[in-house]
């Protein structure tokens, strides 16, 4: 069978499969979760994170690496901003290492949330593809556990 075609190319630049699967998993979680690509760009957060932040990801869209760190805080117990380089998600994507920290964030309506954040890199045969961070309400004693 001869298939008549006109020549076309793919116009889709697909995300790495590992990020696609991570997003699919995160979409099904009830815990707030964030996803950055290998360049540190925030490419997705789930509905639970949107509730915590007071803004859905679809309203915010992708955010560059230097911007998202300051969008909702984060700050320490004394109210001081936490340097971007020290955020677990940044450590995970830059250093390829897991990281964990306690801090506070401020949602869109000004509400503060004390959270524990665990981040881990997404490493593949082709190197790092990004990182995931999952947030939990901070333990009452403030310990990372």
């Amino acid at each position: 069978m001869l298939i008549p075609t006109i020549s076309k190319v793919s116009n889709v630049t697909q995300k790495p499969l590992e990020l696609i699967l991570a997003r699919n998993l995160m979409s099904a979680l009830s815990t707030p979760a964030f996803l950055v690509d290998e360049g540190g760009v925030l490419v997705f957060y789930n509905e639970a994170a949107g509730i915590m932040l007071g803004k859905r990801f679809e309203e915010l869209g992708t955010v560059g690496p230097e911007e998202w760190g300051s969008l909702f805080g984060p700050f320490d117990e004394a109210g001081e901003p936490i340097p971007y380089d020290e955020l677990p998600l940044v450590v995970a994507v830059r250093n390829g290492r897991p990281a964990h920290a306690n801090f506070e964030i401020s949602s869109a309506d000004g509400t503060h949330h004390s959270v524990e954040a665990s981040a881990f890199p997404i490493l593949t045969a082709h190197g790092s593809q990004g990182a995931i961070a999952v947030f939990w309400p901070a333990a009452s004693n403030g310990s990372a556990g």
């Binding site: 298939i3 075609t5 020549s7 793919s10 697909q14 499969l17 699967l21 699919n24």
Partner: protein
């Protein structure tokens, strides 16, 4: 580019009178490039017939494996050219952190599963992990990308002389995702399939069967159609038929696919079920081929 389907069945060979039209051999597609050179996509049991059809002359052949499940490699040790000293075979496949491609395939081509070992094959065989970047085989540009299936699994896109073939036989793009609403870049495999002249895609399950096979790495009819619509391919072949599906059931499946396609505004002649030994010719576009 010429395409011939040598095996369209998924999971396990399913010969018998009830599967004679769509075929019982497992995944293998032969591709003849515009310069006459030959590729085989997967090496299921269909590759045995492909090998028998090749002339017994010195030849170089590339086999592109999507993954190493048995229904995609079982025909390797029954591939006649592999037993000719004058044949050069290059086997491409996905990398794995666990072992090299050669070592993983050798688990099958070795005792007790096989009477011969890889090192005993008379042909000149080499194994290569598919690169992330596009590469060339003869006149064709080949692209491989990981797709949603169990274990390291690739889909392929072959561009030759202005036409393109996308081959994603084992694929579950809707696992945990709504492919009707996701952005293109977040749909597994879409970068390979988009605007292809011919898309060969997983369509193993009916919609009723899918819930019992969630996460097994294959598509329902609805998911395959949603993916194909998003891909905007010129023609789509639903492939990797379930071994439990008879020709009569697949005829119903095909009719359902056409009706669904038409209901979505598509030309029903542009979607069909893959049938063993069917041949397709993708035209040369000379402006791009030069």
């Amino acid at each position: 580019m010429k395409v011939k389907l040598w095996g369209t069945r998924g999971s396990i060979p399913s010969p018998g009178p009830e599967t004679i039209r769509y075929g019982g051999n497992t995944s293998c597609v032969g591709v003849t490039l515009s310069d006459g050179s030959m590729l085989a996509l997967d090496a299921g049991t269909g590759i045995r017939s492909l090998g028998n059809a090749l002339a017994a002359e010195p030849t170089r052949l590339h086999i592109l494996l999507t993954h190493l499940h048995l229904d995609h490699i079982q025909g390797l040790v029954f591939f006649a050219p592999a037993f000719r000293a004058q044949t050069e075979i290059v086997i491409w496949g996905p990398s794995s952190p666990e072992a090299s491609l050669r070592d993983r395939i050798s688990r099958y081509i070795s005792a007790p599963l096989s009477p011969v070992e890889v090192r005993e094959l008379p042909c000149d065989v080499s194994f290569r992990h598919c690169p992330q970047a596009e590469w060339e085989i003869g006149p064709a540009r080949i692209r491989a990308a990981s797709v949603a299936h169990r274990g390291p699994t690739l889909g392929y896109r072959i561009d030759d002389a202005g036409s393109s073939l996308a081959y994603i036989p084992d694929h579950e793009p809707a696992l945990g995702a709504d492919i009707d609403t996701l952005e293109d870049e977040w749909i597994s495999g879409l970068g390979l399939a988009h605007n292809a002249s011919l898309l060969i895609h997983d369509g193993q399950y009916t919609d009723d069967e899918y819930p019992d096979h969630l996460g097994w790495g294959h598509s329902s009819l609805s998911h395959a159609i949603s993916f194909a619509r998003r891909a905007e391919a010129e023609r789509t072949l639903l492939f990797h038929h379930d071994p439990m599906h008879s020709d009569a059931q697949l005829d119903e499946f095909a009719q359902g696919a056409r009706e669904r396609w038409r209901a979505l505004g598509g030309d029903p002649d542009r979607i069909e079920l893959a049938m063993e030994r069917a041949e397709y010719e993708l035209p040369v576009h000379t402006a791009l081929a030069s």
